[in-house]
Every structure is written in C-alpha cells, then in structure tokens.
C-alpha cells in the first residue's frame, strides 16, 4: 500500500463512529501544536475538513466510537482498507464505551422508550411510529467495539484520551517509534 505525499508528509484520516466527538475535541485540545501538526501531516477524509471520501491511501487512521449501526461497520471496514495503521481512540472505540450500556437491554426496549413511551411522545405518536426507512441506517443488535469488527493496531485509553497523550502517540507513530504508556495514563472515567 502506498501512502505519504510527494513532500514526504504522512497522511492522516479520522472518523467518528458511535462516539460523542469528545475524542476529536480532545485532539483539537493540542491547541497551538495543531499548527505544527499541519506542517507534518496532510489530512484526508476527516470530519474536521471538507474531504468526505478517501481520495488516497493513508498512513494513520484515528477511530473514535464503536459500531452501533451498519453504516459504522461500513466506514470502519473502509478505514481498515485505506489506512496502514489504525488507532482506536478512547473508550468507545476500545470497548464500546457508554453507548454499550444498551447492550444489556433489548434494542426494541430502547426504541420504545425513545419514540413511544417518553412523556413528550406518549400521546403524540398515535401511529406508534419507530423510525425505519431505507434512507436511514439499520441499528445493530448491540454496540460493538472496533476490534471485534476489524484488526486494530493501537489503543489509546481515556474518555477522552488526554490531548498530550494524543499528541505523544501521534508524533511517536509519525516518527516510527513505539510509545511507552505509563500506568497513570490509564484512566477509565
């Protein structure tokens, strides 16, 4: 797989699956180092820019969130195909995170609560409609962590991982060095 730009910049792609975007926000919390980063890398598909589809193979793919619908699975598999190295960023990507709290409950119960039983819908949904349409993705029976769907190369813990940790991990990866994760960086909040 060929990646990298003619000028030798590594190419990075990011995505948010069933996450809350907090991991992307923590990434932005590297603050002025963002300006250094854009000298080091070129961004490809990412919700942070205007590139909606992969236009080339990438060196690093950062994945936030696990898989809660068929579209998430599709995107994750595409990331696996197009990125040399995949990093699961944060608890949701690593273990399903908070959305996986629904795994102990049937999907139907979750849908009923949101669309049929809640106090602002109970008497205003006479058709007892639950969204279902070819134009919206199908929800999976449970929330899957990324590594149950594709092979993941690295895992960055935290909810979200701290900005400094993201920066250290990214710069280590760019330099081709292994990053030693210290015990104190493991926070499952």
């Amino acid at each position: 797989m060929s990646a990298g730009t003619p000028t030798g910049k590594k190419i990075v792609a990011t995505t948010s699956l069933a996450g809350c975007f907090g991991c992307h926000m923590s990434f932005l919390d590297i603050d002025e180092r963002l300006l250094d980063l854009i000298e080091l890398v070129e961004f490809n598909k990412s919700p942070l820019d205007d590139i909606k589809t992969f236009t080339k193979d990438c060196d690093i793919g950062l994945i936030e969130g696990g898989c809660c619908n068929d579209e998430n699975v599709h995107v994750l598999m595409e990331f696996r195909r197009r990125c040399k190295t995949l990093v699961a960023l944060g608890e949701c990507a690593i273990m399903g995170g908070l959305p996986a709290m629904r795994n102990t409950i049937s999907l139907q119960e979750c849908l009923d609560e949101a669309y049929r039983l809640g106090p602002t819908v109970a008497d205003s949904n006479p058709g007892r409609i639950i969204p279902c349409d070819p134009d919206i993705p199908r929800i999976l029976n449970r929330v899957y962590p990324c590594h149950e769907v594709v092979q993941i190369d690295y895992f960055l813990p935290g909810c979200p991982p701290n900005a400094d940790l993201i920066w250290d991990a990214l710069t280590s990866l760019l330099a081709g060095k292994e990053l030693a994760l210290e015990y104190r960086t493991f926070k499952y909040d």
Binding site: G19, L34, I51
Partner: protein, 486 residues
C-alpha cells in the same frame, strides 16, 4: 465475535447528514428531507442508574458541548434533591456553574465560527473544497488561526478549572458543585500572561463581531436573502426579559414578535411541548402543543435568543445587540445567516460574563452544595450553545432513575433545518435535471448556520458529508450526487 455480525452488503454511501429532495409531476420541489441517522438509546439505559450518576453519564451524548448536558442534568437533579430550581443554590455554586457554562459557550461558539464558518467567509463559498477548511485558513491567515486556537483554549481552560477536566468533567453535582477556584486558578484566568487572560478575550470577541459586520457590509444581499423564512423562536430569558443562558423562563415569539409562550416555568415544560416521530429520521420533531405540529415548530439557538430577549445584561454585547436589532427594526430576525452574527454577539457576552464572574470573590469559597426535601421528579433546562436543552428525570425511592426524557438543542431545530434545506432546494433546484456541486454547497451552508451539534443529535461534525438524491413524482431517481472529495 466478529464473524457473528451479519450485515447485508452496505451499499449506502457513508455520511451522517443525508438529504432527499422529492419533485412533483411538474418538476417542482415537493418536499426535502434532512435525515438524521443516529440513535443511541440514552433514555432507556440510564434507567436503573443512581440519580447522581446522571450528570456524568449523559454528558457522553456530546463531547462538543458536554458542559451543557452536565449542567442540565445537574439542574434537574437539584430539583430532585430539593435544592430548588436554579435560584436555590449557594452563590458560590451558582457562580461556578455559570462560569463553567460561559466558558463552554465561548469555546463552542469560537470553534464554530473560526473552524467551521470562517473558511467559507475568508476563502469564499466557491473556493476549492480541498483548501476550504480550517487547515486552509491556518495556512493563509496564520494570525487569525492563532487567535482562534487561543480563544478555544481559553474557554477550555475555564472549563477545566471549574469542571475539573476539559472534556467530561464532574464539577456540577446534584445540589451544587464539587469545587471552587483557588486564587492561583482565578489569577491565571483573569490576568494570565497574554494572550490567555480575560481582557484579551473580550478584545478578541469584539474583533470577531467587527469582522462579521465588515463581511456583512460587503455581502449584504447574499447574507440577507439566503434561506430566509418566517418561524417561531424559543429560548429561556431572565424574569426581567434579559438574556440569560444558564437559567430563566421559557419564552416563545412568532415571526412578528407576538408572544406564543409567555414566560413558562421550565418545571411545567410538559404541559407545553410535544414531539412528533417521523419514520425517515431518528431525530424527533418538537412543537408547541397549543399550536400543533404544523404551526408549533420553532427555532432555537443564537438567532432565536436575540429574538426573544429584550436586552443583554453586559454593556459591549448590549451595544452590538442594539445594532443587530436595528436591522429588523426591533422585529424578530428570520434571516438564517444572521445566526452567525448573533453567535458572535453571544461570544462577546460570554467573554464579558466570564470576566465579571472571575472578579467575584464568591467563586473563591463558600458553601458548595445544599439539599432539601427529596422529590421524585426534576426538570433541568438551559441555553446550550446551539439552543434550549431539556432534561427531565423521574427518580424512585431507591434513588434509581426511572425515566429520562431529553430534548437536545439540535432536535429543537429539526424542523427549521428541514425548512432551510427546502427553501434552498426550491430556489435552486426547481426544474433542474442535474445537481451541481454549487447547489450542494448552498444546502450545506444553510444547515451549517444552525451549527447542528451533530454529536448530540447525529454525530458527524461541522462540514458533514452530504448525499443528495433528487426523486421525481413517481419516486424514480432523477439525479444523485454526493459531496465529492478532492
């Protein structure tokens, strides 16, 4: 495990925002739909958790405005623990929460304006999508990029100091807060070395408002005319009609400024609000019960707030408010792109409010938490960056949550966003056979003005992928185009 997932080939193009436009037999736009493709089930799975977990759990709905959910849930739980409804907390607790909230408004609005909207304004709607993004701005307008990064950083520092952590902190708890500021923390935020201090933020915020006004002067026709349509507007306001983003009563006005919801206590929201469910979107459609789904939908967010409030209680923002109101002669402003202007006036108000709060000795110490007679139910509302946010919980005698109902800001804007898309589609697509890239951009610009918190309600972000399908009267696909990459 992996092998167990059985999914048919997914041919649907990936993307979180999806638009379909239906044409009638005459080739005119009959209907447009913005589909929201995400569902998570929070309402159900927080049931059975202890009530004090709610603020930390539900903020995981959204990492872009976690403080809003943290505070809305804490406010609802204030009622549950008998601490009152927004005015019962000790001064230290209330002011710490306000500081946290204004830090959140400041960082979220700065993020939206500089990272998402400014590429269009600085580089042009028609510019090359490859560079029309925040990286493009950073490469061509480095000074502005440094300013943007520092404004966001300052807001995040305020959040870290009040909530304990930049993203998903724990600062607000039922009945109060779990920390106040040390003098060192206060001094750093108030008078820290440039540029990270309160005065610099006020100056930059004023500069951002001026920046937009300048753009407006040069592009008045475009800014005024783009996706303009009448609607109702809703927000919290203070009892005296002043803007208050943390606490107040619910006020709604129609497109002409007539009151349609007269300063309702948030605890009574259920009497006045209902939601409609449509099969083609996971996002519900809220409306005012008295007016019904057809007439009762409303806009929320910066534009709505400037339409419902009578004044802004900080001087610099008030001066800008007056200028803003003069454009529509005091009547509600229904022009979609004026939302950007309104948002920047709020950035200025947030900067002034943070400076005021940081100068208040109450944030350095005092009673942090109160409790009173335990109740079974509580409602917490606040004005999140993107608009009114509703949290409603019922808690059993065993302290476990029995019911949770959340109406997030972006959900409140569901119908207006659909109307905005429809409005643009009608203007551009009537009678056409082919969708062009320019048309896609126009639709995206309309949606982006609402700053949909695609995490709260969907979870793409910012310049979301768009996939537009044009259907004829028989439902056959006339043209399909997705927003291309480079």
């Amino acid at each position: 495990m992996t092998r167990k997932i059985v999914i048919d080939p997914v041919t649907r193009v990936e993307g979180h925002g999806k638009v379909t436009i239906h044409l009638d037999a005459g080739g005119n736009v009959a209907q447009s739909r913005l589909h929201i493709v995400e569902f998570r089930g929070f309402e159900r799975f927080v049931q059975g958790r202890p009530y004090w977990e709610a603020p930390v759990l539900v903020q995981r709905l959204c990492g872009i405005c976690p403080v809003s959910h943290l505070l809305a849930a804490a406010k609802a739980m204030d009622v549950v623990v008998g601490a009152g409804t927004g005015d019962g907390l000790p001064p230290t607790a209330e002011k710490m929460r306000r500081l946290m909230h204004y830090g959140q408004i400041f960082q979220s609005h700065s993020l939206h304006f500089f990272y998402l909207a400014s590429p269009d304004l600085l580089l042009g709607h028609e510019s090359d999508p490859a560079t029309r993004n925040v990286v493009g701005v950073a490469l061509t307008h480095r000074e502005l990029a440094v300013q943007a990064i520092n404004m966001r950083k300052y807001g995040q520092e305020v959040i870290a100091a009040t909530a304990g952590k930049k993203i998903h902190g724990t600062g607000a708890i039922p009945g109060g807060v779990n920390k106040c500021l040390t003098e060192a923390e206060r001094d750093a935020l108030l008078h820290g070395p440039a540029p990270l201090n309160a005065d610099q933020m006020v100056t930059w915020a004023q500069g951002a408002v001026d920046f937009f006004k300048n753009y407006y002067r040069k592009n008045k026709e475009f800014v005024d005319g783009f996706s303009q349509f009448p609607s109702n507007h809703l927000s919290l306001v203070r009892a005296d009609g002043g803007m208050d983003l943390y606490h107040g009563v619910l006020r709604g006005v129609d497109a002409d400024g007539k009151r349609i919801l007269d300063d309702v206590d948030p605890q009574d929201y259920l009497e006045h609000f209902r939601e409609e469910v449509k099969p083609w979107s996971y996002m519900k459609f809220p409306y005012l019960r008295a007016l019904g789904p057809e007439k009762g939908w409303y806009r929320v967010g910066p534009l709505a707030r400037l339409n419902t409030a009578e004044f802004i209680p900080t001087p610099l923002a008030q001066a800008e408010f007056e200028e803003f109101k003069a454009v529509t002669r005091g009547k509600p402003n229904n022009m979609c792109l004026h939302t950007h202007w309104a948002r920047l006036i709020e950035v200025l108000h947030a900067a002034e409010s943070m400076r005021e709060l940081l100068q208040d000795p109450d944030i350095l110490g005092g009673e942090l938490q109160v409790k009173g007679r335990r109740r079974a139910e509580g409602v917490g509302l606040l004005e999140a960056p993107r608009g009114t946010l509703f949290h409603h919980y019922r808690v059993g005698d065993d302290d476990l949550i029995e019911m949770a109902n959340l109406i997030v800001s972006t959900t409140n804007n569901n119908e207006p966003m659909n109307r905005a898309v429809n409005c643009v589609a009608r203007a551009l697509l009537t009678g056409v056979k082919e969708i062009t890239e320019g048309m896609l951009n126009a639709i995206e610009v309309a949606i982006r003005a609402y700053d949909p918190c695609l995490s709260c309600a969907t979870h793409a972000y910012g310049q979301m992928p768009l996939d537009v399908t044009l259907l004829d009267a028989a439902g056959a696909v006339v043209s399909h185009r997705r927003k291309p990459g480079r």
